[in-house]
Amino acid sequence: MLLSLPALHLQTSEHHPLFQLPHRRLGPWCSPTGSPAPLSCETGCGEGSWILVCRLLVPTQVSLLSMEEDIDTRKINNSFLRDHSYATEADIISTVEFNHTGELLATGDKGGRVVIFQREQESKNQVHRRGEYNVYSTFQSHEPEFDYLKSLEIEEKINKIRWLPQQNAAYFLLSTNDKTVKLWKVSERDKRPEGYNLKDEEGRLRDPATITTLRVPVLRPMDLMVEATPRRVFANAHTYHINSISVNSDYETYMSADDLRINLWNFEITNQSFNIVDIKPANMEELTEVITAAEFHPHHCNTFVYSSSKGTIRLCDMRASALCDRHTKFFEEPEDPSNRSFFSEIISSISDVKFSHSGRYIMTRDYLTVKVWDLNMENRPIETYQVHDYLRSKLCSLYENDCIFDKFECVWNGSDSVIMTGSYNNFFRMFDRNTKRDVTLEASRENSKPRAILKPRKVCVGGKRRKDEISVDSLDFSKKILHTAWHPSENIIAVAATNNLYIFQDKVN
C-alpha cells in the first residue's frame, strides 16, 4: 500500500503539482529563508518536504524559574542537555494539543505537568525564527492521589488537554487525568502596582505612625509573568478511567468519557454532571465492549460520537433523549473474514475518533488502520488507510511485548485534506486524501538539526531490502509516536516521541 515516493529534497512550488493548486489562500507566511510564499492548506502535504522547526524537551526541574526568560528558554529548547537515556518516566509526553489559533501548543506528561509553548512572533530582526515554539508556561496540573475507599492509586498522568476558544486576554484549557478534570486559566501579568501606602517595596507592613504623606499606587511594567490558576475542578464523577474530554461548540458545556459512561458538564458547575451515555450492563459478566473515545461535533452542539472497543462508532443526538444510550447512527464495517485471527478483536478496537473540521467526516484509528467515515454512510468507511500493515503477521509478538495495546491518535490538517497518525520506530505517517499519496517520516534525534529536511522513510516488508529501507525486524517498538497535533490553519505539526516534542513545518521555497 505504501507508494514508493521519489527521494525528496527541496521542492520548489513550480515543480510540485500540489502546490500549484491552492484552493484557498490563507495569506503569505515566511518560509525559513525569509522570502514570503503563499501557502494554502488545501495543497496538502503528502509529498511536501517537512523540516524540523525545533525539538523541545519537556522541562522538568530546570526551568520553573527561568520559564519567563527568553534566553533561558531558548537555551533549554535548543539544547540537547538531557540525553534521552536520562529521561524519567514522568517526562513522557501523554498528550499534545494546539489551541484554536495555533499560537499555543500544550503538552501533558505522565508526571501530571502541563507545558504550554508559544509561537515566536514574527519580527523584522529574526524573520526566520518565526515558527519556533518556546516555553510559555509550565504548571503541575494533577498530583498523584490515593483513593482510600478502593485502595487504588490514581495516576497523575494527563490523559487529554483541550483548549477553550479564547474569549478574553486569558487562555483557558481543560486537562484531565484518570479521574478528575480541571479548568486552568493561563494569564499574563506584565504590570505590577507600586507605591502602596501601607506596605513598603518588599511588601512588609509599614507602621502607620511613620506615614506622613499619601500617594496613589501606580502600575509599572514588570517582566512578563505567566501564571496558571485552576479555576474549576470537576471531580468524583467517574468510576472508571477517563479517556476523553471534548468541549462543546456552545462553549458552555463539555463532556468527559470513561470506559462505560459519558458525562456532560457545565463549565460553571463543578458539583454536578449529567450522565448522557451509560453502557454498563446490569451484570458485569455480560460486558463486551467499552467506550474508547468520544468527541462533540464541531458545529452542532447536540451531536457527539463515541467509539468502542469493538470497532464501532455511535453518533448520538442529545435532543432525542436525556440518556443517549440509543444511538442515532451506528457506524460499523463488517469484518473481513480473511483477516480474522487470534487478535482480531483487539486490533479492531478504536483508539481515537476525530471529527473533521467541516463536521462531515469522522476519522477513526484502530491498531493497524485509519478509516475515514462519512456521517451519511454507516455501513462502511469511505476511506481506509493502512498505517503499518506489515505488523499484521507479528501480532503475536506485539501481544507479548504489550505493544498491541498501544493507543495511537490521529489528526486532521486544517483543511481536512491530509490525515496523520503515528507508528513505531518514531515513525509517523501522513495520508493525503485527495492524491492518495502517503509518506512516512521519522522524528528522531539524528534528524534533529534545525531546518533539516525530513527524509521519507520506508519499511521493507520482505525480500530484498533496499539501501534506505528499514526491515520490520529492526523496528524499535519502544519508540512509538502515539500523540501528534496539527496546527489548525498552517502546515505545522507537533509530534511527541516519548519525552521529546518535535515541531515540523512544511517547507515551501
Partner: protein
C-alpha cells in the same frame, strides 16, 4: 499440535499479564482486562477445538467443554479471594463489581452476593479442603464441578493430589502442562501446601492444583 502449543502459550501469557496488571499504578484498566480476557477466550477455544480434532471425539467431550465457561466464573471469583489477601488489598465493591467484566464468556448469572461471599467462604473452604482447594468458589459451582468431574475432563487440574478420577477425559495433559508452566512462571514451589492465610505473592502458585485459568481469574477478579 502446534496450534495447541501456541494457544497454550498465549493463555499462559494472558494470565501472566492479567496478574501483573493488578500491580500497576492506577489500578486495573477495564479495557485492558477486557481485551486480555478476549484473547484468553480465543486461545482457549482454539486450544479446545484443536484438542477435539486431535483426539477421538468422546461423549465426555461435550459435557467437558460446556462446563468450562461455568468453571471459569467460579475460578475467577476464587481468584479474587486469593488475590485479595495476596497484596493486602480489600476487594472493594467496585473492583468486585468489575471483576465480572473481563470474563466475557457467557457465564451463568452470578449474583452480587457471590463475590462478597467469595472472599470469605473460599478462603475457609480452601483451607479446609485439601484436594478441592481453589476449585470451588461457591456451592453452586461446586455442584457443577462435581458433576463434571465424573464426566472427566476438567480443564482445571486439581492437582494437589493428582487423582485419576480427575485426570480422565480429554484434557489431562493440558491441565498438567498449564500447571507446570504456570507454576514455573510464578517461581514458586508447587508442592507447598497452602495452610496459613495467604499473605505472600506466591499464593496462587502455592496451589499447584490450580490451573492457569484459576489464577487468571483470581487476578482478573481482583479488580
Amino acid at each position: 499440535m502446534e496450534v495447541q502449543k501456541e494457544a497454550q502459550r498465549i493463555m499462559t501469557l494472558s494470565v501472566w499479564k492479567m496478574y501483573h496488571s493488578r500491580m500497576q499504578r492506577g489500578g486495573l484498566r477495564l479495557h485492558r482486562s477486557l481485551q486480555l480476557s478476549l484473547v484468553m477466550r480465543s486461545a482457549r477455544e482454539l486450544y479446545l477445538s484443536a484438542k477435539v480434532e486431535a483426539h477421538e471425539p468422546e461423549v465426555s467431550l461435550q459435557p467437558a467443554r460446556s462446563p468450562d465457561p461455568r468453571l471459569h466464573p467460579p475460578r475467577e471469583a476464587e481468584a479474587e479471594a486469593e488475590a485479595a489477601p495476596l497484596d493486602g488489598e480489600q476487594p472493594s465493591p467496585e473492583p468486585m463489581d468489575t471483576q465480572e467484566a473481563p470474563r466475557a464468556e457467557e457465564a451463568p448469572a452470578r449474583g452480587a452476593p457471590r463475590p462478597a461471599k467469595v472472599s470469605r467462604k473460599r478462603r475457609s473452604s480452601s483451607l479446609s479442603d485439601g484436594g478441592d482447594v481453589g476449585l470451588v468458589p461457591s456451592k453452586k459451582a461446586r455442584l457443577e464441578e462435581e458433576e463434571e468431574k465424573e464426566g472427566a475432563s476438567s480443564e482445571v487440574p486439581d492437582r494437589l493430589q493428582p487423582s485419576p478420577a480427575q485426570a480422565e477425559g480429554a484434557f489431562p495433559n493440558l491441565a498438567r502442562v498449564l500447571q507446570r508452566r504456570f507454576s514455573g512462571l510464578l517461581n514458586c514451589n508447587p508442592a507447598a501446601p497452602p495452610t496459613a492465610p495467604p499473605a505472600c505473592e506466591a499464593k496462587p502458585a502455592c496451589r499447584p492444583a490450580d490451573s492457569m485459568l484459576n489464577v487468571l481469574v483470581r487476578t482478573v477478579v481482583a479488580f
